[in-house]
Symmetry: C2
Subunit: 178 residues, 2 copies
């Protein structure tokens, strides 16, 4: 990809991420192109539909979650790596909250995507968890799917209050600690 | 209500609760009447549609959650009352998991129902929580909506494993404890 094409793509992703989090209904392709300073023709050439754009961002965010696990394992102690990765997972999940319906459409159109997502998230969770288990920092009876269910659950709950995310993650982390 | 009418109603509710939890798609009105040993005419006279039956059971279960809080406050220490009420709330939420779509229809047809439900659940949670706070048994920074979001969240999570409910509630309870 040429440097200017890459910069355009990054700008589009950044604008779309913000709009999907704040007010997804206003985030039409025209408005995304306008705010990103990219021609609408260019945008549609790369992403024929809004679902394609959502899927491309989702794949990039999934890859970032996996990278985050690797980076934390290299730079943090086992407990902090687990705690910070779970915060990253909570932020990732929050950013999808308002576009769950469209993500569901992407999963239907592309059945591998849901399985891949599940696999990437579970693998990253398992990496930080296995290290924390080995260090005796986390309850031995907790599994990677447990972590996903606990944190994903309260973030996606119908009556979730986004202001309480860090607080509720703190409660869950206290419950996970040995 | 006459004694035999009350017995019929109880049998219908019991059968419907089991069927809604296990396989809601098979729980047509005919099958519910048959298994409960009640005439289909009687069933339709009391509940003109499946949604009416779902709503009636939901209201009874909500009232039971409120009664449970009062009973636990009289018979258990502050921490156990909180823990047992949250288990009751988890079971209540689980029993609605397979019929969330139809409950949503009941909420749309009857907008007060959702507000009432929210109020009854929050009030019951607040009762057990206030007593546990006063006894210093639970983190002071936890609110009733926090409890609902944490427990309701993992029970209703897309990839929730019902076999893990008691285990995950144990993790959350450890996080809530002072």
């Amino acid at each position: 990809m040429r440097a200017d094409a890459r910069r355009n793509r990054e700008r589009v992703f950044q604008v779309a991420r913000e709009m999907f989090s704040e007010d997804p209904h206003s985030a039409g392709m025209d408005e995304i192109a306008r705010r990103a300073g990219v021609g609408i023709g260019t945008l549609y050439r790369n992403f024929p539909s809004r679902i394609d754009l959502i899927e491309a961002i989702y794949r990039e965010d999934l890859a970032a979650l996996a990278t985050l696990a690797d980076r934390l394992i290299e730079t943090r102690n086992p407990w902090d790596a687990l705690a910070e990765w779970l915060l990253g997972f909570a932020r990732f999940t929050e950013s999808k909250r308002a576009i769950l319906g469209e993500l569901g459409q992407a999963f239907e159109a592309n059945p591998d995507l849901a399985a891949q997502a599940r696999h990437q998230i579970d693998s990253a969770a398992l990496k930080v968890l296995t290290r924390a288990h080995a260090a005796g920092a986390v309850r031995p009876d907790v599994t990677a799917p447990d972590l996903i269910q606990l944190v994903g659950g309260f973030v996606l709950f119908i009556a979730a209050d986004p202001e309480r995310t860090d607080h509720l993650l703190g409660v869950v982390l206290d419950g996970l600690r040995t």
